[in-house]
Amino acid sequence: MKRVANINPRRIINYLRKYWSLYLMLSIPIAYFIVFRYIPMTYIQIAFKRYSIVQSPWEMPLANNHGFEYFLKAFRNLDFLYALRNTLLLNFLDLVIGFPAPIILALLLNELTFPRFKRFTQSVVYLPHFLSWIIIAGLAKQLFAPTSGMINILLNRLGFESIPFLNDPTHWVFTYVFLGIWRNMGWNAIIYLAALTNINPELYEAAAIDGANRWQNIWYITLPGLRPTIFTMLILSLGHILSSELDRPYALSNPLVNSVSNVLSIFVYRYGIRGLQFSLTTAVGLFQSVVCVIFLVAANALAKRFGERGIW
């Protein structure tokens, strides 16, 4: 909806006089993005070329199949397809089970009536976040190992059979997800807790006068107050649906569960990094990024439909 030729010079000067400081402020972050994000991006072309240590990416020769050789190589590799499936599966479960958890926790904490207890709980639940996955994996094995794990020893004493938390693929998936929740729930709740403080207390007072009970408060005041934050976090999480960190599955996996624990990050590590196939690594990374962007755009559009602001 461009207005035709409204290039009034006085308007421009006024506009600039008002907003020059904003452009100045923005210039620094933009410069940062150009230098540290966009310039390295030009190396993504490696995905389409034959990697060579001694040449710069511009000099490297184009790979076969119009540069798509490595993409084809990945998709023809059964391991890649399994890794893709596993990544989607684990991320999806993380989303469905793990996304609501911090919200519920924030709400729970909000409802706590004992202030000291509330502060103490707040300080404690984010503790697991500080443990690296290597440590958590060690702790998990101490607890969940089939014969020497403490939980299973307890179960055996009570007459039950051991539960294969870590050595059976199906059980492993759930252990994986719940360990993730345990670790990140308290930490992710912080954002929601901060957003909760933003909700106008007068609303609660008004509701109390109207005789609202706890659950009505939550449904009509708290949750709507959290809505923008929830949507933002949801969109961003959906945008990571295909991303894959290395630490968590690597630390927790073992040879008995590889059918579900091999995810994209491990595939990239084994074939790309240790196998020294950098074009393949970059190609897989590019694929992940493209899919993530698609999800991101879709999620954002969907959010706008719901009347939310979206991310842009």
């Binding site: 990697y51 094995k141 014969t147 073992n254 084994r270 020294l276």
Partner: protein
């Protein structure tokens, strides 16, 4: 006249210049020394051990730097690289042209990958050219190791093989005190070993009292191929040809060797009888859970590195076991898995170890080779390995060396300073008898008899790996890690499967291994071998 003089001068200059250029490999090297100081950088592993000294600047680097400067007028700088992420870091360095002049790695396919990208210097011409200046290097490594990786078609030598001097691998250990308690003889056959394990299991209360439910007759780890080597190898036919040994030898645990499956079936049988530690696949490399169980006295037998229970002195299994259980507790090495010819065959690697290579950015090949020569001379490496008398070691009457624990700036960061002695792995005092005796002395807290027995058994009836050079095997590139992981998964899953499912699980995993590149490697190796050596 002037023109002629000028012409002569020009000609003379040209002749002089071209003679200099002809020896352009290195002018400035006169009488075994450089006329101007040269600089080289050497890769050094950084293990970050608590209490360790900085690997690039300590007592040992001072010694080396001083020696190199005095002898050859070469300044040496060490570039530390973290030991566990070595591959990733070196790769970055190579990509940026920042790699040290001398690099070391255990993985030859890695070097090959870099070489194919043009990132590695071909050593062949320099080795020929400067052979006369490298007596120690050739003396220690011999033509065998130096030209181990020479490509038969192109003659290129991308890397030199260090010498694996102490070529010892695996041993089978059993609890001496438990044998005594149960009145059993040391097992000499597979059947006796099995019966022994069953005896351990059935007599748990006698052996462990109230900890009876913690009994583990036999322990192993996720690295099944390494930790059950003696057992599985006893199923391999004695008359396996050299050809088969190599063609099916890509996997470093020998997964593809004939009859491997039956060895694993035996383990599956043991597992289902309750003789093997049930949690074994869960714990990764370096995890101490299994070690702790062994030290606590719950384990009856296991296979491991040839001296594993005796290492690490106070922290080691032998000493800890005695602390926990009592003075009679000990593990002894036994030989009990004869193969189909009745021989206790041990399959050891070829006498190669780390590979030393020069990145293409190396501008001082001669100086670098001289460094290797320096570090290979007996005098220098002896000092690096045993240090100063009275400080790092004491000398016994018979000349044997006993090492002392050292802390502070003279500390030895890696066993026998292996990080500095990059051309040799293993103690070498020059005299094999003296060396053997010294080795036996260097297990603090452990009586020599245990070491001597372990030392002898582990290389008894050894068959060594062979060198087959048929040029690059393309199918192998980049496949090491991925295929090793598949192998580990296959073995672990096969062992824990129910006996009736063993074949199905094995076949499925094995087919996946082959399909993911294993078969391609076998085919290419076979084709190239037969092309070079005929159908042997």
């Amino acid at each position: 006249m002037r023109k002629r003089l000028f012409g002569v001068l020009l000609l003379a200059l040209l002749v002089l210049g071209s003679s200099v250029l002809a020896f352009a490999a290195d002018p400035g090297f006169v009488d075994g020394r450089f006329t101007t100081t040269r600089k080289i950088t050497v890769e050094i592993y950084d293990r970050s051990n608590p209490g360790g000294s900085p690997p690039e600047d300590n007592f040992w680097t001072d010694f080396i730097k001083k020696g190199m400067l005095e002898k050859y007028n070469v300044e040496v700088e060490f570039k530390p690289v973290p030991r566990w992420t070595e591959v990733e870091v070196i790769n970055n360095l190579l990509a940026a042209g920042d790699a040290p002049d001398i690099c070391v790695t255990y993985s030859y396919p890695t070097i090959l990958a870099y070489a194919n990208m043009g990132g590695v210097l071909d050593l062949a011409p320099y080795l020929e050219e400067y052979r006369e200046y490298l007596p120690n290097l050739f003396g220690l490594l011999g033509e065998t190791n130096i030209y181990w990786n020479r490509d038969p078609n192109t003659g290129t030598v991308w890397a030199i093989e260090a010498l694996l001097f102490q070529n010892k691998k695996i041993n089978t250990f059993v609890r001496e005190d438990w044998l005594k308690k149960l009145g059993l003889e040391e097992p000499r056959t597979l059947e006796e070993f099995e019966n022994m394990l069953r005896a351990f299991r059935d007599n748990a209360e006698l052996l462990l009292g109230e900890d009876a439910d913690k009994m583990i007759p036999y322990s192993t780890s996720f690295d099944v191929g390494w930790r059950n080597d003696h057992l599985i190898m006893s199923f391999v036919p004695n008359d396996m040809s050299d050809r088969d040994m190599w063609v099916y030898g890509f996997d470093d645990r020998h997964l593809l060797w004939p009859n491997y499956k039956e060895g694993v079936r035996k383990l599956n049988q043991w597992y289902n009888e309750g003789l093997i530690w049930k949690d074994f696949p869960l714990y990764g490399a370096g995890d101490r859970t299994e070690d702790n169980l062994i030290k606590a006295g719950y384990v009856g037998a296991f296979m491991h590195n040839w001296d594993y229970p005796y290492r690490d002195g106070q922290e080691g299994i032998h000493v800890q076991l005695r602390n926990m259980v009592g003075e009679e507790a000990a593990f002894i090495a036994v030989e009990c898995f004869p193969n189909d010819a009745g021989i206790y065959r041990k399959y050891l690697s070829a006498p190669i170890d780390r590979k030393v290579f020069f990145p293409a950015t190396n501008k001082e090949p001669l100086a670098s080779l001289l460094y290797l020569d320096f570090i290979s001379s007996l005098e220098v490496r002896r000092f690096l390995q045993i240090g100063e008398e009275g400080v790092h070691h004491i000398v016994h009457e018979d000349g044997a060396i006993e090492m002392l624990p050292v802390v502070g700036e003279k500390i030895i960061n890696s066993p026998s300073n292996i990080d500095y002695t990059i051309t040799i792995n293993g103690l070498d005092l020059g005299d094999p008898v003296l060396t053997a005796r010294s080795i036996a002395l260097n297990y603090p807290g452990v009586e020599a008899k245990y070491i001597e027995r372990a030392y002898e058994i582990t290389s008894n009836e050894a068959r060594y790996g062979i060198n087959v050079q048929v040029g690059d095997i393309e199918a192998e590139q980049g496949m090491e890690t991925a295929l090793s992981e598949k192998r580990n998964n296959l073995l672990a899953q096969a062992i824990v499967a129910k006996p009736e499912e063993f074949d199905a699980v094995w076949d499925r995993g094995f087919q996946d291994y082959l399909r993911s590149g294993g078969q391609a490697i076998i085919d290419e190796r076979a084709a190239k071998y037969d092309a070079m050596y005929g159908d042997n």
